[in-house]
Point group: C3
Chain length 448, copies 3
């Protein structure tokens, strides 16, 4: 029996439209569905994905939605059941896709595990609520850019037949627990500015910019195959999941936990022993009191890197050390001179704790140190050049590696490639570096 | 039987109060009434007019309301049934009228065709919801500025008895179709920032500042007597109205059409052939795709005048030329290097098309070129000096011209006048130029 | 029978949360209760007070709430039934108290008449809506800053046993009439920007900063014991209360009335004779017309002091003098060159009238002149150093004066003290000046 799992519903997005940047993401995150639980029950996982037009970097949330879909599918290939050739009709401003943007979008879905790329809709209707929604055949007919790009994409997908069935590779897990998102979304929290969805999206953005592909993972699952586990928002964390994370560190893993985590159990009850108590062994630090900032206030954290202090906002905490080393110190704010970021050795692994809110830029120096502990290597490419790898086996059983490179910038970029690679679209062999054109896409194939 | 047509209801204004500038205007535009259709059924057309206090240049929307009232009355004189001596009580901030402002307001209504000037209300009530609404007799009684100005106005209106029955002159028609306003106001449009009412008001403002008096006209009516027809927002345009406009151009008229026009028919169904298809012959251009901008984004259009590029916002379109000349080019934005403004010769007339949103300032160079095509001459007076003409016949059957000049600035202005003019208030003959005092009013009479 | 009067309900605050600064204050002011009327019916008056965290100077509204509670109690000691050790859980951002802040808060309540200082809540609950509300015993337990400060406060309160029963001294009355607040809050007022609560809070803030302790008073009560009566917002003012104020001035008092006062009677009916008519004798001025400003507009008033014009906003009035002297003149705005502030001698007293809206900074020069007329002496201490006096009798019947000094700044401050003073906490005698530490508190005792 075929059962489908629609992850993203466009109606669901509408209710978050007052917070544009996080909206698309939250729509993925917040339907009244525990996606990981549901994913285990269905045969085919699919997604409907529509860009949030207000966000000029909406290809990052697209990537997050695709990674989440793949993770819900347990890493298996999935279907992109719907996306659009250009603008939609239900957002405040329905920005049309630029030339080449539709191809870049489609290929990011492919790189992140989609084995089917489909559109809503075939032909734009002349009447009704969706008449201004883009289509494969727009009102202007087949003598249009949109139609020409649809035809081009069809040809490219045909050339990628060999990619089907291969699996996207990720060394890093980003924790995602629907029940924690629900719990943190309840009323009467210390600060309405601290949003779990925003935290997950921001850590994801930092990892995306560094060219680090991630799986979304539940804190209770086996994490041992990951080099690094990042917990941006684990407000609700059961004793069992905390023990799982502690064992992961003890066994040599690197764990980074962000503020307002480990606060309550599965009944939204504060953990006995106080905030963060279940992660005390892994992190070597406790939280005495939450110190939310006023609206718009910022603070400085020194000690994280050579480029000077980083700027935090929204939140701070009064930490009590229990074995951890202080890496970042509050230079001002509600706890001046106190610990802001700590690092703890537990077993053969490392537990990091960050007690304030850093945006994607300000996270960079901390993440460099965490990557070093975890032996994770950023791609080294310019910030808006996306690279993903899928690995499968060819007819002979040999391991084959597909590299999808997408250049979201307006400059061509030279990308180093492993020896023996070939361009899957042209069929030609490539040298040590390939150029990815401005706004362009490359798919390379290499037998490992 | 006397039947009245109230155009503007102050309660109707309240529902638009979150968009201050367009509110007053929209109140005129948006009651659930097709004004032109209703106007044909009544004997006397009247208006209740109240300034939108938040707008420091609210005399422009006053003029638009008056021109609309006259146009609904088919050009015949009409009655100003209600206006106020000073502030009202139902706006967020009920700004009092400055000395002389009430006279300027009243005389703009007169110049634009009102033959009766009345107030709400005689005496301010001590109790109830309207106790802070201004009145002819305010709470301060008859020893007040308001009362003295009411008495002064009464004397002036008596001196203008001869103006009654004359008709306001306009060479330009601005299209106004209630059904198109309703249709564009429905949900699921490409951009909520593109507002039909705002577009009509902005084009009106540009014409007002240039001293060009306009009638509001329905796209289906006979337009042959106008030198220029401007269509700021004709989203819904029937095939019949499009044919009417096309015939107008063919017969020598100048037509200027603004973006997102000619999109749907009377059933809100996209025209066969695509956007703008029914005006293809008149304009020589088609629209392949709408390209809405993100919130706050702007773009540049070059080629419209010597003063450099103009700045557009909200909207652009991918145009496909079909005979028209490119006059303005997108210098950036979503379609860089492509046509933004076109000009087409059809029959003995000219069809202009503007595919982006320009504000009243940025419209100036385009309108200068359009005026030149249409042989329309701006007044040449400073921007906030308003001049309107009414033409009637005297007892001997001779044509008499009344010029109403209103100086909304704080500097006196010299205005050239035709020979043989007399000041209707003082009765004295005037020379080649008259001075209109700062904040003052003049009414001149001349037998043609 | 013991009946309690809760003045401030935290749920009531929630409905004003879109106007953060005035919220806390309005919550005190606006429940559907005439506090003065209710206060006469109960045996014990108490308050629940919670800081409005968004306001960095929330100790001023704390002081106002405490002064109002005492005034409702008729000057008798009262109970602080609830306040918090640190942050609460029901505001958008629940800022934790800084070290020492809880002591400063408690001592301001004591100085302003509280004889009991209590907390909500004993121990933080692990579950439920209030689990993030601070408590005497927080989740972190007794090894926490919060607990240590609670214990310290308990010791200090024990040392202040002698203060119980003494009464806070105030020479100035600030008028507060719940019925006028309700009436001004109705719809259809000249400007929604003019808010009675904001006006009272701003005048209070000015007096607080000048170190002048005030009682809140009803306009109908005996005011003869006050050197100065300030009426920031007496929109509804009965003939009887106006006569009471007039008699107060006639008998030698100094009265300062702010704009939009004396407008309606107890039936929300404009006074016969026009705005401000019932205070004509006391103030020597009438209001011909209200002149509200547009949103964000400002105006200048000259003549109030040597430091140049002050800046007003929101409101102006067209005044007609009837004996008063012009002290402040509108330099611009809707009535340039006309009277803005007047001063009138009536009987042996003085009546001031201010016809625009000045913020707490801009009020300073006017208040200096009013203080001089009223023989009121500001404390002369830095702006955020709070000093209050309570006076009682000792066992021998001698008059004893308790001075509570609270330093809200981050610098130590030297405060002059009367001879014979002793530090009530240390028990030691003090010299001519005492130092109040940065963020610190002092309580002095002196037998008069």
């Amino acid at each position: 029996m075929l059962r489908e799992c629609y992850i993203l519903e466009r109606d669901a997005i509408r209710q978050f439209s007052d917070k544009p940047i996080t909206t698309n993401f939250m729509a993925v995150a917040c339907p009244a569905t525990n996606l990981f639980a549901w994913g285990r029950e269905v045969d085919i996982v699919s997604n409907d994905h529509y860009l949030w037009a207000a966000d000029p970097r909406n290809y990052v949330t697209l990537a997050l939605a695709a990674d989440l879909t793949r993770s819900v599918a347990g890493g298996k290939p999935w279907m992109l059941l719907e996306h659009s050739t250009s603008g939609v009709n239900w957002q405040p401003r329905n920005v049309a896709k630029q030339p080449g943007e539709e191809l870049r979008n489609a290929m990011s879905h492919v790189g992140r595990g989609a084995d089917a790329i489909m559109f809503f809709q075939w032909r734009a209707s002349r009447s009704g609520a969706e008449k201004f929604h883009s289509a494969m055949v727009p009102h202007a007919g087949t003598s249009s850019r949109v139609w020409r790009e649809v035809v081009e994409l069809g040809g490219i997908l045909k050339d990628l037949d060999e990619v089907r069935g291969s699996r996207t590779q990720a060394d890093v897990a980003l924790l995602w627990d629907q029940e924690s998102l629900w719990a943190q979304g309840l009323e009467w929290r210390p600060s309405e500015d601290l949003q779990a969805g925003e935290r997950i999206q921001t850590f994801y953005d930092r990892l995306w910019r560094d060219g680090v592909t991630v799986d979304l993972a539940h804190p209770s699952q086996d994490l041992s195959r990951y080099k690094l586990v990042v917990a941006p928002a684990s407000y609700l964390l059961t004793r069992e999941s905390a023990a799982n994370l502690t064992a992961y560190v003890e066994g040599g893993g690197t764990l980074l936990v962000s503020c307002f985590s480990g606060v309550v159990d599965e009944n939204d009850r504060v953990h006995e022993g106080g905030f963060l108590a279940p992660l005390r062994a892994a992190l070597g630090v406790q939280v005495e009191e939450f110190l939310p900032l006023r609206e718009g206030e910022t603070l400085s954290v020194s000690g994280l890197g050579d480029a000077g202090p980083v700027t935090g906002s929204i939140w701070a905490e009064a930490l009590v050390l229990d074995g951890a080393d202080v890496v970042g110190i509050y230079a001002d704010g509600p706890a001046p001179g106190e610990a802001a970021v700590t690092r703890h050795t537990h077993g053969t692994g490392t537990g990091w704790y960050l007690s304030t809110v850093l945006d994607a830029d300000q996270l960079a120096p901390l993440m460099q140190r965490v990557y070093a502990d975890a032996d994770v290597t950023p791609s080294g490419l310019p910030e808006d050049v996306e690279v993903i790898q899928r690995v499968g086996t060819d007819a002979s059983g040999a391991e084959v590696e597909f590299t999808v490179a997408i250049n979201h910038t307006i400059e061509p970029v030279a990308m180093p490639v492993a020896g023996g690679s070939a361009d899957l679209l042209s069929g030609e062999a490539v040298a040590e570096t390939v150029e990815v054109a401005a706004g362009g896409v490359r798919v390379l194939r290499r037998t490992r």
